[in-house]
Amino acid sequence: MRRLVLFSVFGFFACGGGDASRGGGDDAAQAAVAPLGNSTIAGVVTFDGMPPANATIDMSEEAACAEKYANGAINPVVTVTDGMLANVFIRVTSGLPAGPYPHAPAVTIDQDGCLYHPRVVGVMVGQDLAVTNSDAVLHNIKAVPTQNRPFNISQPRAGMTSTRSFTTPETMVPLECNVHGWMNAYVGVVDHPYFAVSGADGSFSIGGLPAGTYTLDAWHETLGTRTMQVEVAAGGTMSVTFVYGPTT
């Protein structure tokens, strides 16, 4: 009884729980759920103005990675192509009917040339996240969440894949490699499949939605967040634009 009282005293620390468990969740059960609707939010993320320069990476200690870059490696923190911003994580934060939701496809992050590919991904709670080492060097994959349990896995050899999942929604869970301090990736953990990451052309698409009014959140690792309301009709596609700029 006393324990319960104390938990309420320290309740502000209470933030969900559970372990970042190893892979092999009940994919089959979740995959069986049919889409809730046939509406789509399609959009782009733009960057107006001059994007900040990305730092070069000194890979001199890691020849096996350095040789994959003819002109030297750049840390792709802000990736803008023709005014379009990549690696923005967009998710629905309100307006959804209650689940169960269909399962999003499995996600793999590759470590290649001592960088993560992709740099930003989304997964559902319980969904497998596989991390592969395509470099002939030691990487460690350290997840540093606050709402979920962490993990820190050593992958001393190329070809190794490790699979984990998360138990609690959290945007974002940083991944880092401590052997190569410049390596960062971000995992958005969501309790539904209505999320997307903007591609190299800035575009994203969230499909399978029922008609309704939704709140969308956009997140970028250094440029911050954006929010908007979107109304989408049954069977329709709503086009939206998130705008980022250098003064954010």
Binding site: R2, F10, S154
Partner: protein, 517 residues
């Protein structure tokens, strides 16, 4: 500034000193949160903070910092990476303390029941423990130790690239070392594997193996269990690495008051790499942060030196070695120092993020024959100065002089030769001087057969240890072996013969008397 110093000193002293009087009454009962809270507030909160956030009064003076319990992240566990510790894991750390940190053991200070109550309370700081039942991993048993096994361990250490952080010789000087942070963005050093007595989770082979299997959560040290599952490394190979790591240093160095300078009859060593040094037993000198005079050093980079000494009746040679991941200044370590100076903002103000050279000072009483009264250990004072050798790495030079305080130094005659070498995270400085100086009124004569007081100061320039910052030792003594006179060998033989002769005489006399009766 001083007003803040006093309470913190009191807290530190109170926690450590009073802890030794805290013998609880043994009880057998379910874990009692109320008792746990009372004990925690009394003994733990000074470092770990009232709310368990690792932010007690004394915390700012420590590196590594006291554990923040609110995130449920624990280094020393028997559970898989990212999982909570078992109660037994928490109990082991509370019982034994954490070597290499300020965490003392509480086994002899709190009763078993009290320690369990504290564990219950500590767990209440993180909701992750609610309803959790963490399970220990199965670790198996170590294979028998063998030379082939150690060689295999060394090979796998390289193959798995442990050196990327821990360095080629294991001294925590790998290329990634300067970039390391823990989950609170505090700078953290990869373990110096040549100093197993400082390993946070213990220095036994089984401890090392467990750390590799579980990882050290909230630090950069990952778990190698996935690598076993993926058949990248076998359990036996990982045990071999643990045995290899264990072989890199002694279990716990013996600290003795007197450094023995062995008398050589042949050639003296030429430099730190001379194979002759290999036959001389090194002696460990513990070092502590200089926390007497501001600006002080609460988290020193160097906490021990190894000293070897030899002489041949005319010349004294000493070899001082210590682990230091960088020959300072070193641009690669600027990132480390920036982080360190941001974190270690203590009562003496901000530590400038400017690197200096690495430094070593060795001091002796300037006037040896003053009975038992030795000069003040921090570089002497005006009444009792010290004769001091002060070496600095960049430029590589050694200055001889007289000091009357850490920063009161007057250079004198250059009568000392030195050779400094930096290799794989270790400084080795050989210093040579005639036992009798050119001017016996200016500097002391080292007499054979006498215990000459000696003390050390050392500083790591890449950790911002400039000026009077750094670590210091207490007074020790160096004893120059006297030559063994022939009488030492002849006398016992003569004594034995004499005794035997007396015995025979007695027996013969007794027999005669018996015969005559």
């Amino acid at each position: 500034m001083t007003s803040r110093v006093v309470p913190i000193g009191i807290v530190l002293v109170a926690v450590l000193v009073a802890a030794s009087f805290g013998q609880g009454v043994p009880r057998s009962h379910a874990q009692d949160l109320e008792n746990g809270k009372a004990l925690y507030d009394k003994w733990c909160a000074g470092c770990h903070g009232d709310t368990g956030a690792g932010d007690g009064e004394a915390a700012a003076y420590m590196l590594p910092r006291p554990r923040d319990f609110t995130r449920g992240l624990y280094q020393i566990r028997t559970t898989a990476s990212g999982e909570l510790p078992t109660d037994a894991d928490l109990r082991a750390v509370i019982d034994e303390g954490m070597p290499g940190t300020a965490m003392p053991g509480w086994k002899t200070r709190l009763s078993s029941g009290d320690r369990d109550d504290v564990i219950a309370y500590i767990k209440s700081f993180s909701a992750f423990f609610e309803g959790a039942s963490p399970q220990p991993m199965a670790f198996g048993k170590a294979p028998g130790r063998s030379d082939e096994g150690l060689a295999e361990g060394a090979r796998v250490y390289r193959e798995m690239e442990c050196f990327k952080c821990h360095g080629d010789a294991g001294r925590g000087d790998g290329p990634s070392a300067p970039t390391m942070t823990d989950d609170w963005d505090h700078p953290i050093r990869p373990a110096d594997l040549t100093r197993p007595w400082t390993f946070n989770g213990g220095g036994a082979v089984a401890d090392i193996y467990r750390r590799m299997r579980t990882g050290l959560d909230a630090t950069p040290m990952p778990s190698f269990s996935d690598a076993i599952d993926a058949a990248v490394v076998t359990e036996e190979q990982l045990w071999r690495v643990a045995q290899f790591v264990r072989s890199l240093g002694p279990e716990q160095p013996e600290v003795r008051e007197v450094i023995r300078a062995v008398r050589l009859s042949g050639a003296m060593p030429a430099d730190p790499t001379d194979s002759l040094w290999g036959s001389i037993e090194p002696q460990y000198i513990p070092m502590v942060g200089q926390i007497v005079r501001a600006p002080r050093t609460f988290a020193p980079a160097v906490d021990g030196l190894w000293v070897r000494a030899v002489h041949d009746g005319t010349t004294l040679a000493m070899l001082v070695t210590w682990s230091d991941p960088s020959a300072s200044p070193d641009a690669a370590w600027q990132e480390w120092l920036d982080r360190l100076s941001a974190v270690m903002q203590d009562a003496d103000g901000v530590m400038a993020a400017v690197q200096g050279p690495d430094r070593l000072a060795i001091q002796f009483p300037a006037r040896p024959s003053e009975g038992m009264q030795r000069p003040y250990f921090l570089g002497g004072d005006s009444r009792r100065p010290v004769y001091s050798w002060r070496w600095s790495s960049t430029p590589d030079q050694l200055t001889v002089g007289t000091a009357s305080g850490l920063d009161q130094f007057v250079a004198g005659a250059s009568e000392v030769a030195h050779v400094a070498a930096f290799d794989a995270g270790q400084w080795s400085i050989q210093i040579t001087r005639s036992l009798a100086p050119a001017d016996a009124t200016a500097s002391p004569t080292f007499a054979e057969g006498e215990a000459i007081p000696i003390a050390f100061q050392v500083a790591d320039g890449s950790s911002g240890e400039t000026g009077i910052r750094g670590s210091v030792s207490a007074w020790y003594a160096i004893y120059l072996d006297v030559p063994t006179p022939p009488a030492v060998f002849v006398a016992p033989v003569l004594a034995a013969l004499f005794t035997a002769g007396l015995g025979i005489l007695l027996v013969v006399r007794a027999q005669r008397r018996e015969g005559g009766a």
